[in-house]
């Protein structure tokens, strides 16, 4: 493939003009309000106003570290996100491949809707459905699955050890289909003649997938993984707070940084502390992405995010 020469200014200008509406939007919508990051370093006193309140350095961040929960919530957040990224990517890719197989069938529209449907159900409603399955009194699992087998019902909402599996499952159920659409679009963009050539050469289906499809999906995979890594200290609040029904007994395996901050600040209602928590999550994610991106850049500059 020929590479285009680096352009002169006149060549770059029209392209830059095309980019302006988008850039303008980001400046206004995202960069100007970023001024607010300084709130994380202030002790806000409303009588003085936000701008005149005192600077207190890193004090607002201490509540994130000075608690024995800090380790638990950080560990949980990271482990869940790693599981989500790895398992989610694998599931989404496979779903996309399977889905693509059937794209010419009449019922494919139906299938596509089915992929997105779980994502449309809000976490609040989902938590009620999960409760229908897991509640100790008349939940589906205890009543209809375990009881006939003679196994005593488990008090699901009081046993932390099952929840990593439950939550990962629910997360995959909700997002794998939705995420597969991107991979589906990428597969749709692959030149079909490559497959034809491979088939003529006698390549089996499995070989086709592993030698053609997945390598060609690499750029998409890398970018999605990179973006997910950037949010590795964030979590889906609905999943970790509402689905476990905010049960205290489950904290050891369901407390994430976001839920901890929310619970801590319900009483305190402190703007500076919540800004500090957000900044902490952003900075960690940022450092990680820059690092990983640099590594990717070394391997293949084209695949890097920037």
């Amino acid at each position: 493939m020929k590479t285009l020469r680096r352009g002169t200014f006149s060549k770059n200008l029209p392209l830059f003009l095309l980019a302006i509406p988008g850039l303008l939007y980001f400046v206004v919508n995202s960069y100007i309000p970023m001024i607010g990051i300084f709130i994380a370093f202030k002790d806000i006193n409303f009588a003085k106003g936000i701008f005149a309140s005192d600077w207190i350095g890193l004090d607002n961040f201490s509540f994130l570290f000075q608690t024995k929960d800090a380790w638990i919530m950080t560990r949980n957040t990271i482990l869940y996100n790693v599981a989500f990224i790895v398992l989610g990517t694998i599931c989404s890719i496979f779903i996309a491949i399977f889905m693509y197989e059937l794209v010419k069938k009449i019922y494919s529209k139906f299938l596509m809707t089915g992929l997105i449907l779980p994502n449309l159900i809000s976490m609040v409603v989902l938590s009620l459905l999960v409760f229908a399955f897991l509640n100790a009194e008349n939940g589906f699992i205890n009543n209809s699955l375990l009881a006939p087998l003679g196994i005593e019902g488990i008090n699901w909402y009081a046993e932390p050890k099952y929840w990593p599996f439950i939550l990962v499952f629910i997360h995959l159920w909700k997002t794998a289909g939705y995420g597969s659409i991107i991979y589906f679009a990428a597969i749709a963009g692959i030149d079909k003649s490559i497959y034809e050539a491979a088939k003529i050469d006698g390549a089996s289906k499995i070989k086709q997938i592993s030698m053609i499809t997945i390598p060609l999906l690499k750029p998409t995979i890398i970018i999605l993984v990179l973006l997910s890594v950037g949010r590795i200290f964030n979590s889906d609040f609905g999943l970790f707070y509402q689905v476990p029904l905010n049960a205290g007994a489950l904290y050891s395996t369901t407390q994430t940084i976001d839920t901890y901050v929310y619970r801590a600040l319900m009483q305190l209602n402190d703007v500076g502390m919540s800004a500090a928590a957000g900044l902490y999550q952003s900075v960690v994610g940022f450092v990680l992405v820059v690092t990983v991106n640099a590594i990717v850049r070394k391997i293949n500059a084209d695949n890097a995010l920037f």
């Binding site: 024995k68 009081a158 205290g248 009483q267 402190d270 703007v271």
Partner: protein, 511 residues
């Protein structure tokens, strides 16, 4: 075809931008209408919560209020009504961004707003413009109501004037109790309940005798009961870290007290005997729904007056009765739970206080806010009662905020819905004066030095408390673990800080 599409897009964008400009300019032209009056009239933004359906347009009600307030006190009110879902969000955003918001209320967050200097000190303004208000409060509550919103000698808020005593009631299904042969007069304490539950369980194995009144997190009102039964002052925080029992003056950890152990032990007994659901600590179904569908029997609730059971029966769908088993106790939080506050950055302090004065003393203003316009939204029945106009109810009338009676002004001046017993209303007000008051009523704890510990401790409490509330945790093993976790989270430091502040406050009271 692409070009046509693009043109359509651009056109739509332009139209939406123009219409956006159009609607914002029309709203600003509306506010210019009263300009001749504006010289003499102060504009006050009054922000309120309504639990009813909020109509799209309630300008008729706003006008009706202003017809009273402009001639009387020269104040024009901008009435803003929000649903509970977004009230605090909207108030906080307005306060933090410097938007005009003059009068607002709090649902329990008084100390927080005060510590961040978001509230205006009112004592001087009250002396000038709030004399009627103060007199009315004294009449209905007795002296000292404003102590609960006073910090360092400054009055920062005005609690709503209503019956605030919420004794703990045993709330139960009338039919079931009668079928067991008990008489409600025989039930006087929490220990009387144990044999009743045993009977229920024996006779009706499918019915759960007891459950949490609130869920998410589960709450059986254990703390509420302790407060009234043993006269425990929670010193303005709901965690239970740092309370004072009676008048000992000593700040202790609630969970280390004998009183807590005893009451938690009773509930633990109930749980092990099967009087609560196995998942009571984590269920998503409030027990009132269980009772209504015939699967539950009773719960504990804090209600003022003696008529609440009637309304509960309507809500639950089965005849309910209630019987008091513990008195109430006024500590600072009990009294300032719903208070009206003035923004510290307001540009109309005088107007705001003048309006507050009317809010507590003017029958017309109070009832217009609550019920709307006479003969349109409600019809008078006798002297103090009202009902909806023919063929209308709470959902179809053009304006009503009838569910906000617990939030606005003085209960003694509010009209009541037809059927409400006025004697009970009087009882509620009388109990304001007879309920025991904590010697520390008026003490407000400043959390700013122990913010980190509070956030840690809150998490620990959330983790364990529902379990103790429902008896699902074994006291022998879990209670020590809980206390240990609390101390590791900094509970002792919080208690120290509270004791310091309390001692200082006590010595200042003596002066």
């Amino acid at each position: 075809m692409k070009k046509k599409f693009l043109v359509l897009l651009v056109a739509t964008l332009l139209i939406s931008v123009l219409s956006a400009c159009g609607s914002s300019s029309s709203s600003s032209s509306n506010s210019n209408e009263g300009t001749d009056e504006q010289q003499k009239v102060e504009k006050v933004v009054f922000s309120m919560v309504s639990f009813n359906r909020i109509p799209d347009d309630y300008s008729a009600v706003t006008k009706a209020i202003n017809d009273i307030t402009i001639p009387k006190i020269g104040v024009e009110i901008d009435l803003q009504i929000f649903s509970p879902a977004d009230y605090s969000q909207k108030v906080n955003l307005a306060l933090q961004s410097g938007e005009k918001l003059d009068i607002f209320t709090t649902l329990g967050q008084f100390a927080n707003y005060a510590s961040k200097n978001q509230l205006l000190a009112l004592e001087d303004l009250l002396d000038k413009h709030g004399k009627d208000l103060i007199a009315k409060l004294e009449e209905d509550f007795g002296p000292g109501l404003l102590d609960s919103t006073t910090i360092n000698g400054h009055i920062y808020g005005i609690p709503v004037n209503k019956g605030m005593s919420l004794p703990t009631n045993f709330v139960y299904s009338e039919v079931l109790l009668n079928s067991l042969g008990y008489k409600k007069e025989d039930i006087t304490s929490i220990n009387d309940l144990t044999p009743i539950f045993a009977d229920v369980k024996e006779r009706y194995p499918d019915i759960t005798p007891f459950g949490p009144i609130n869920v998410n997190p589960s709450d059986t009102n254990l703390l509420h009961y302790l407060k009234g039964q043993y006269q425990i002052d929670f010193l303005t925080d709901t965690n239970g870290i740092g309370v004072v029992v009676g008048d000992s003056g000593k700040v202790v950890n609630l969970y280390e007290t004998d009183e807590f152990k005893e009451a938690a032990g009773v509930i633990r007994e109930w749980f092990t005997a099967g009087y609560l659901q196995k998942d009571a600590a984590t269920t998503a179904v409030p027990f009132s729904e269980m009772i209504g569908s015939g699967r539950g029997f009773s719960m504990l609730g804090g209600y003022s007056g003696k008529e609440a059971a009637k309304a509960l029966s309507a809500q639950v769908g089965t005849p309910m009765e209630m019987q008091r088993i513990a008195p109430y106790y006024f500590d600072t939080n009990a009294v300032n739970l719903v208070s009206w506050l003035v923004n510290s950055t307001t540009d109309v302090p005088e107007g705001a206080v003048k309006f507050l004065n009317l809010l507590y003393t003017d029958e017309q203003v109070i009832n217009t806010i609550l019920y709307g316009i006479e003969d349109v939204d409600y019809v008078r029945v006798g002297e103090r009662h009202i009902k909806f106009p023919e063929g209308k109810d709470a959902n179809t009338v053009s304006y009503t905020a009838m569910l906000s009676t617990g939030m606005v002004g003085s209960e003694s001046l509010q009209y009541q819905l037809e059927g409400v017993d006025l004697a009970d209303l009087q009882l509620k007000l009388d109990e304001n004066k007879t309920t025991p008051r904590s010697p520390y009523l008026g003490f407000v704890f400043d959390q700013s030095d122990v913010k980190v510990q509070v956030s840690s401790v809150t998490n620990v409490v959330n983790q364990y408390l529902p379990g103790f509330m429902t008896g699902s945790l074994d006291l022998e093993t879990a209670l020590p673990a809980f206390i240990k976790a609390l101390n590791e989270a900094g509970a002792e430091k919080i208690i120290e800080s509270k004791q310091e502040q309390l001692d200082k406050w006590i010595s200042e009271q003596k002066k």
